[in-house]
């Protein structure tokens, strides 16, 4: 939003109004001798802390590295998992497979967002006409949140083609995608629902007292606040989703995991798996950092609101 940058220091804002005419804060203040001495002492202490941290890190981490590299099994270990020349050789295949993971993630994210929101809205609504859907949604969420996703992938990926229904696809990629969407919709619906329920009833009362109806209240007052609050957990689910697209490899989809498996079984070397892991990490670590930052901001914002 517009004032994102200026939100941080709201506490200091309150005091300013009445006092500005009386005191000149901009002026000629010089720190006292005492304050200067304090600052010098603080700077000295900080410098000492930094030196200690650096030395300690150097010896502990360096020591661990030396122990690992000089241990008798190191050669075998690095040949099995970290044969970089071979790793680079198979990297194009893994990257090609990773495009499948990204595609799956993108399509799944869009579908999951839509279905997840719909289910959350059905479950939080009190409309009598929606009662059967509310029951179905509850059962659906309970079931698919409570079973391993691998099981869903196997059921959909192998079970659906076994039905031999005309017009239904046998494409493992689509079946795998469907299984991922089914499972993650259940997770995301619950996250959004908890967000909706976390908005204080007084917000609803204020909106309704202005004459807004249920749908308007949801759309303009409740959902915008709920989404802001659940953005961090939703981003967490996105990271998990990226990783979990690797599970569809069990159906024979040639994603990054499958590509690594093929390369590895051909050479009895496990470096391709490590390469695949690195490829995943290149996406997931930055996204995790971004999630952490969003969470921190969101907490700060809620605290600021609490003050007022």
């Amino acid at each position: 939003m517009k004032n994102e940058a200026s939100r941080g220091d709201s506490a200091s804002q309150f005091n300013g109004e009445n006092s500005q005419s009386k005191y000149d804060f901009g002026g000629k203040w010089q720190p006292s001798e005492l304050e200067l001495a304090r600052r010098a002492a603080r700077a000295k202490r900080n410098k000492r802390s930094a030196i200690i941290a650096a030395l300690s890190s150097f010896f502990v981490l360096g020591g661990l590295a030396v122990i690992a590299v000089t241990s008798p099994g190191w050669k075998l270990l690095s040949d099995t998992f970290f044969k970089w020349a071979y790793g680079v050789e198979v990297l194009p295949k893994i990257l090609l497979g990773f495009i499948t993971n990204i595609t799956l993630t993108t399509i799944a994210t869009i579908c999951v967002a839509f279905f997840g929101l719909s289910i959350a809205l059905v479950r939080t609504s009190k409309a009598p006409a929606l009662t059967p859907f509310r029951i179905l949604a509850t059962v659906y969420v309970d079931v698919f949140r409570g079973i391993p996703m691998l099981l869903v992938i196997l059921l959909v990926g192998f079970g659906v083609p076994a039905l031999q229904i005309q017009g239904l696809t046998n494409n493992v990629l689509i079946l795998g995608l469907t299984a991922v969407i089914i499972t993650y919709t259940a997770y995301v619906a619950e996250v959004i629902r908890s967000g909706i329920l976390s908005i204080h009833p007084s917000q609803r009362a204020a909106a309704r007292s202005l004459g807004l109806n249920y749908v308007q209240t949801m759309r303009h007052v409740i959902l915008p606040q709920a989404f802001r609050r659940v953005t961090p957990p939703l981003l967490n689910d996105l990271v998990a989703l990226i990783k979990d697209t690797g599970l569809v490899s069990i159906l024979g989809v040639t994603d990054a995991v499958r590509a690594a498996q093929i390369a590895s079984s051909r050479s009895f070397n496990y470096t391709p798996y490590v390469m695949a892991a690195i490829v995943f990490l290149l996406i997931t670590i930055p996204l995790t950092r971004f999630t952490d930052r969003t969470l921190r901001k969101s907490i700060e914002q809620q605290n600021a609101q609490g003050l007022a």
């Binding site: 004032n3 007084s202 009362a205 204020a206 309704r208 007292s209 202005l210 807004l212 915008p224």
Partner: protein, 249 residues
């Protein structure tokens, strides 16, 4: 006798097994203010929420401009458009700027264009000296400013009746005055109001009628002078004595 904007007869309300309001009957003529006083939990807030149809009632009738709004066939959303409500905790929408808070209902409920709504909101903000805060978010305002914005927000639909629910109870004494001044101004302009308050001095200034609520019943009612200076009932006297000792009279 002028027409009553609000007329309640024999209203009864309970939560589960607990009886909260019983045999409440009042008339609020146009351009007057009725003030409810009473201890916390005496049912003041619940009464205001019932009038705004935010709470279903057990029995009785509520009429707005002679029309029964407790009729089951009436659309509560349309009733609430005619009644403004201001809450103890302001309840501004934190994700919207001051201006957006105010124009939401005119645009969505009344179908005003954005320009129209903004014009109206800006003239209201100007009138109450808050125009410079139009683009601020609620968490950047002081409590008193937030409450004044909440009052403006409730005025944006030109309500027939304004319900004010302990609107100064979460403000410190310095900020209370600016909010009370706003309410006095509205009263002077002829707004019809029902208030719940702990500010007895304010009740004296603004009220045409004061009702003392005790355990969900109107125990005593009359002019501010009758109730606040010469209460007849022992329980009213005791309540006022306690308020007096707490220094809020």
């Amino acid at each position: 006798m002028s027409n009553s904007v609000l007329e309640i007869s024999k209203l009864r309300k309970s939560f589960d097994t607990e009886l909260v309001l019983e045999d409440i009957s009042i008339k609020v003529p146009e351009h007057t203010a009725t003030v409810f006083i009473g201890a916390s939990g005496s049912g003041k807030s619940t009464l205001l929420r019932c009038i705004n149809l935010l709470e279903p009632i057990d029995d009785g009738v509520i009429k707005l401009d002679g029309e029964e709004i407790t009729d089951v066939e009436i659309n509560p959303d349309e009733v609430r458009r005619k009644i403004g409500m201001v809450f103890q905790a302001f309840n501004l929408f934190p994700h919207m700027s001051v201006l957006e808070n105010i124009i939401l209902a005119p645009m969505r409920v009344k179908g005003s264009s954005r320009d129209q709504a903004v014009d109206q909101a800006e003239s209201l903000l100007k009138r109450f000296g808050l125009l410079d805060k139009a683009n601020q978010y609620p968490d950047r305002l002081s409590g008193g400013q937030q409450q004044r914005v909440a009052i403006i927000r409730s005025l944006a639909l030109n309500p027939r009746l304004l319900l004010l629910d302990e609107i100064t109870s979460s403000l410190d004494p310095v900020l209370v005055n600016e909010v009370l001044k706003t309410v006095r101004d509205l009263k002077a302009e002829g707004m019809t109001m029902v208030l719940a308050t702990h500010e007895m001095g304010f009740a004296k200034q603004v009220a045409d009628e004061v009702c003392f609520l005790k355990d969900g019943r109107i125990l005593e009612w009359g002019t501010p002078d009758q109730i606040l200076n010469k209460p007849q009932e022992r329980q009213t006297q005791e309540f006022l004595k306690q308020v007096n000792e707490a220094g809020r009279l």
